[in-house]
Symmetry: C2
Subunit: 344 residues, 2 copies
């Protein structure tokens, strides 16, 4: 009998992890950073390695009705590599644990592993360990990624300062509109299995949800141009949620501009079709795995030459709050409305 | 539609992981050892770290009817630390991912974490990262452990040579008889909920299944006495299965003696009650998390002074096969009959 029962969904992912780990003690001098960022940082005989872990659960994080198994394997790796890159580190190894119910065959598992091997090859990462077991229902993939950090390059969520510039890679909201499209087609398929899916000219946003990529290109570009961001986080839960993480941990505020937020043409078209503002998809839609980071104004000129990065605003003092300036020049407060897998 | 469907259970855990990872390519010079031992070995700027991962699934690896949540958290850490010690390394950090259905409350999760924190404290290991998410059913815990390896101490399953002595820590078969007892009580409880469980004087074997320990003591003893085993593996699937892993990877045979295999008095009593030979529990019952290792005969005198290690036999050439000499002086072939979670 439980005297106090708190529902898991009431705390949110972030609040829950905080509550479960707030009493964590550290026994090893080698643990430089534990819970609370995209990855942990471990001193390994004077050098630093980073470690992160992510679990994907069928029915919560993916739907096998439209997620091919090979893509699922690929994406499971990508979401972990993304966390390693978000520390400004280079992923080097992963371990993979999979629990599957007996409705899956060995060939199905091999498809998942094909995707895992493909991501490993593309990102130059080694699969070094794993565990495969049965589950009573569904499919669960848990991956841990390890990366190496060059000296003085560690970039956490804490370090953004007033006047620093806020940057994002690629474009935002694409994965979310891709998901809306797949959910619509699934509904149509369930109602009328003979209707062919109407996904012509939508391949970009569908690829963004089914086969995302991690921002290796950015980490290499920053290295080449000798820029170390003051703060960085990968965009897995939506821009609003991520920028608030940086502001909270860096104890600062921010202003971002709607007009500056990069949104793909296909994202706009589909958002319009679904009668949602494209900016809402960009702010609150998750799973883009683009990178959000801040840089000193000293690095502005160099950064401006990067073809795949957009400067979307700047950091302010904490008292000024966290705001979006709309295209119509309205100032609205940014709130986290990112996706919470614990509220399902 | 699948053209070829192979059922997962037909390959066995070992065969399956082999098939899924046989094409694994290695892209980083830092990956010294990948899939195939208790843990992977990574070169970290000239020093070595080891990494392992294990997943525990409700209904497959544990039954919450008799497994308290705190013990479950504790055990989930132990099974991973055991793999690190099996490489002759010292665990330093873990990451924890948990998927839970909404039948669990935050307080239930906190109990699991209490057990995790307790194991971390006892073994001096830091919890550095994690992920908590919902599952559609049941509870799944996936843990990755990282450890440091002192130079020239790496001990794998490969390295046992003819005449080397085969050693085990503690005693074997206890966890399996404890499990039989708990399963019996569960059956009685389901049939007659008012009958009180009859577990008096059985606390030792029950603790062995519900709250196992990892062999930190052995690794420290070996270090203090400057012994590096020629091969080592932790006993998670039963002595037979583990010794065959060492023989296969070391390309050798073995002889072990029934009379030498350490079995606790409570294990014997309960095996008798269940009408199973105690030696069968020791050979084929899993989850003892004792350590099996081989040493050179040069280390015999030192090893003989270790109060918690028993020498149970010796390594032979591969042609001589793998055998047990029974108390009645019969020679029987050792076969792996360890627990296979994929056959459930």
């Amino acid at each position: 009998m439980e005297k106090n029962r708190t529902e898991v969904g009431t705390l949110g992912d972030f609040g829950l992890i905080n509550r479960l780990t707030e009493n964590t003690e550290i026994y090893n001098a080698s643990t430089l950073m534990g819970v609370g960022d995209d990855a942990a940082v471990i001193d390994s005989f004077g050098k630093q390695i980073v470690v992160t872990t992510d679990m994907l659960v069928e029915g919560v994080h993916f739907d096998l009705m439209y997620m091919p198994l090979k893509h699922l394997g690929y994406k499971s790796v990508i979401v972990n590599l993304s966390d390693i890159y978000a520390m400004n580190a280079n992923p080097t190894q992963i371990t993979v644990s999979i629990a599957i119910s007996n409705r899956f065959s060995v060939e199905a598992l091999e498809e998942i592993y094909d995707g895992i091997h493909l991501a490993c090859k593309k990102y130059g990462v080694d699969l070094v360990g794993g565990d495969t077991t049965t589950s009573t229902s569904g499919l669960i993939i848990s991956i841990t990624a390890i990366g190496e950090l060059d000296e003085n390059k560690l970039t956490t969520r804490k370090g953004a300062k007033e006047h620093h510039l806020i940057c994002v890679t690629g474009n935002l909201g694409a994965a979310y509109t891709g998901l809306l499209l797949l959910e619509r087609e699934k509904k149509i398929f369930i109602e009328s299995p003979n209707v062919q899916p109407d996904l012509e000219n939508q391949s970009y946003i569908i690829e963004r949800i089914l086969k995302p990529e991690a921002q290796k290109e950015l980490i290499e570009w920053l290295d080449k141009h000798q820029i170390v961001p003051s703060a960085m986080i990968d965009i897995s839960d939506g821009l609003s949620s991520e920028i608030l993480h940086i502001c909270k941990q860096s104890e600062c505020g921010c202003v971002i501009y709607e007009d500056k937020i990069p949104i793909h043409e296909q994202t706009r078209q589909n958002a319009e079709m679904f009668k949602i503002a494209a900016i809402t998809c960009a702010l609150n839609g998750g799973e883009d795995y683009e990178m959000l980071f801040t840089i000193s104004t000293d690095d502005f000129e160099k950064m401006a030459t990067c073809p795949f990065v957009q400067i979307i605003g700047h950091i302010t003092s904490a008292e000024k709050g966290t705001h979006l300036i709309t295209s119509g020049n309205h100032k609205i407060e940014l709130k986290a409305q990112g996706w919470n897998p614990l509220k399902n």
